[in-house]
């Protein structure tokens, strides 16, 4: 690890109540996890980030309880068109008379869903490639790394645009496009880490005891690179969220979908400027900003806590 990750963002906000005991449910044998939680709590910026994430996750998960088709279906809403914020509509309305607040909350569901699914795809695929490449070395490893390098050389957005355009509009193709263009970083990282782990004595021991390739990769390497996967996935998720917004803005999303990117798209191309409807344009962008920042801060804090060098210093 380099000194780069010690660039932790500052923070002054009090931690959210829900984040105070992140490890409460963990069984006692995970002493490491407890230690982790203790150390994490000392990183206020990380707690703030986690707070943002918990808030948005709660919103996303509970949204169906208070938002239904009556609020989102353009055929059923009856609000004023592009009305400024008022008591009835705290964030105003869009061109179809829907409450921007409702859209924003519902959008967190779909945006986060795309971001998380794309990240899972990215991390699973990238880790698999990285671990296999690191473990086998030789021809297979070199070949896999060459493929990875080729993909790294391709500019991400044009590739994602092309993929999404060819696959057709919609959330599925956007998700695939994001995953297909972001797995390379994870793969590279995991390969380096796998090499490091495999050089450690316990892997030698396991090999001497007759453990097979799969056993070593799954039992020895995977648990040891897990923290790194975690950290890298928080950073992948921020990329996925921004990419989702970008691709949707470029018109590759589903026009009937409600995501933050789609909201910005509709606001920009639907006449929000002419009507000076800042209340329609601002919230989705700020929401993206908040969630991306939340993931980044959390990821950096986790990374800092997991860094063996910081442990030594204490």
């Amino acid at each position: 690890m380099t000194a780069a990750q010690t660039t932790t963002a500052p923070n002054a906000t009090a931690p959210d109540a829900t984040t105070r005991e992140p490890a409460a449910a963990v069984p006692p044998r995970f002493a490491g996890a407890r230690r982790f939680a203790r150390a994490f709590r000392r990183r206020p910026s990380g707690l703030a980030g986690l707070g943002i994430l918990v808030l948005f996750s709660l919103l996303a998960l509970t949204a169906p309880a208070f938002i239904g088709p009556e609020q989102l279906d353009v055929t059923r809403v009856n609000g004023p068109l592009l009305a400024p914020p008022s008591a009835a509509y705290p964030f105003g309305t869009d061109q179809a008379g829907r409450s921007v607040l409702d859209l924003l909350i519902w959008g967190s569901r779909e945006s986060l869903q795309i971001g998380v699914i794309a990240t899972v795809l990215t991390v699973v695929f990238g880790s698999a490639v990285g671990i296999v490449a690191g473990h086998y070395g030789g021809f297979l490893g070199r070949a896999l790394m060459h493929v990875t390098d080729w993909f790294i050389a391709l500019p991400g957005l044009p590739l994602a645009i092309s993929l999404a355009a060819v696959l057709g509009q919609g959330t599925t193709s956007i998700t695939i496009a994001i995953a297909a263009t972001s797995w390379t970083a994870t793969a590279r990282l995991l390969r380096a880490q796998t090499l490091a782990v495999e050089a450690r004595p316990f892997v030698e021991r396991a090999r001497a005891l007759g453990a097979g390739n799969w056993q070593i990769m799954l039992r020895q390497v995977l648990p040891n690179v897990m923290p790194l996967i975690l950290v890298s996935s928080t950073l992948t998720v921020t990329g996925a969220l921004l990419s989702e917004a970008t691709l949707t803005f470029l018109g590759l999303g589903s026009p009937a979908g409600v995501t933050w990117g789609e909201m910005i798209h509709d606001a920009f191309f639907g006449g929000a400027f002419t009507a000076d409807a800042w209340w329609y344009l601002l919230p989705p962008g700020l929401a993206i900003l908040a969630v991306v920042l939340g993931f980044t801060l959390t990821g950096r804090a986790v990374e800092y806590v997991l860094d063996p060098r910081t442990e030594r210093k204490r």
Partner: protein
């Protein structure tokens, strides 16, 4: 992909060019091997480009002619002209051959060669990207150096926090906000910058006036890109400086009684600059990504805008063309970064 991963990389991965594999010492065949690698990369790009745009069975003829009176004979003629009926391998071979000769296909939408479309749009993109790149590199490196040298100071906290916040913003959204504030005008603010385009057609298109006019149109799109991109450079430079700060040679320099500023400028900076500049070149892909959306928001007549136009249909040959051009430029930049780095590294030159 785009900018976030680019920032994520230096933060998590060990900076490859610094502590890396043994090719610190340039071998005689070094240049050749790098060139070969770039050529292979380009070849892979070609294959990916072809597969991407040809796997989906799309009959462009209808899209092209919709809304215009065309006869059956013309439809058949168009199909032959576009080569839709030829077998796949034949199309691949002619595609590779054409691309290598600078023919990037024939746009469905514009009824003209993709190469000529690209050529007509390259200038504005270079101007926009060059300006934003230069400004963000200078700004990013300077801020990164200052904040890295005094990690933890108020200046560092402010710089890092601002950079982190701006980096978390979707580029195009930031562009829209700047547009609504400075061009459209909101509340008491009157818009005073142009809303779109690259020059005002009512002014003369030559001389100083034109330069100023273009600069005026350039302000918002360039500012948007700078604000989002410079953060990466701050992070990169900051971590490089922090890494150098612990080096023994700095201790020596300090022990000699050199003032802090001199140590920073003459000792830490040159060493930290090198890996940073290399990383910056390697992250040019992120700049391109920004260009696509920023050009779309500000109607900047460049390649990004062309890509955006092509997406609407989608005009596959045009998308393919811009994809190849973008990829080729990134490959070229990476190659340059590699070569320049080996050439400039004092530890290498010393030998």
């Amino acid at each position: 992909m785009s900018s976030p991963a680019a920032v994520a990389e230096p933060a998590v991965a060990a900076p490859e060019p610094r502590s890396g594999r043994p090719f610190r010492v340039p071998r005689p065949g070094y240049l050749i091997s790098k060139l070969a690698a770039a050529a292979v990369s380009f070849a892979v790009t070609l294959v990916i480009g072809f597969v991407l745009f040809n796997v989906m069975p799309a009959d462009p003829v209808r899209s092209m002619t919709r809304g215009r009176p065309v006869s059956d004979a013309q439809l058949a003629q168009l199909r032959i002209q576009l080569g839709v009926d030829r077998p796949m391998w034949e199309r691949f071979l002619s595609y590779v051959n054409d691309t290598l000769h600078g023919h990037l296909g024939y746009s469905w939408e514009y009824q003209q060669s993709v190469a000529s479309l690209v050529a007509s749009r390259v200038g504005p993109t270079l101007l926009l990207m060059g300006t934003s790149f230069a400004v963000s590199v200078v700004l990013g490196l300077w801020l990164g150096m200052r904040s890295g040298w005094r990690a933890g100071s108020v200046f560092d906290r402010f710089t890092s926090a601002t950079a982190l916040t701006l980096w978390s913003v979707p580029t195009f959204w930031l562009g829209m906000i700047l547009l609504i504030v400075f061009s459209v005008g909101i509340g008491p603010i009157h818009g005073f910058l142009p809303t779109a385009g690259m020059s005002d057609p009512t002014l003369p298109q030559t001389g100083m006036t034109h330069c100023l006019d273009v600069a005026r149109h350039l302000v918002l799109p360039a500012l948007t890109m700078v604000l989002v991109v410079y953060a990466q450079y701050v992070t990169i430079m900051r971590s490089s400086i922090i890494a150098e700060k612990g080096s023994p040679y700095l201790l020596t320099a300090r022990a000699k009684g050199l003032p802090d500023a001199s140590v920073r400028r003459h000792h830490a900076l040159p060493n930290a600059l090198l890996p940073s500049v290399t990383m910056i070149f390697m992250h040019l892909g992120g700049l391109i990504s920004g260009a696509v959306t920023v050009e779309a928001v500000f109607s900047w007549p460049g390649l990004g805008d062309l890509t955006y136009e092509a997406l609407k249909i989608p005009d596959l040959p045009l998308l393919q063309g811009t994809f190849i051009v973008f990829s080729a430029s990134v490959i070229l930049m990476n190659l340059l970064a590699d070569l320049v780095y080996r050439f400039l590294d004092p530890r290498v030159r010393a030998q």
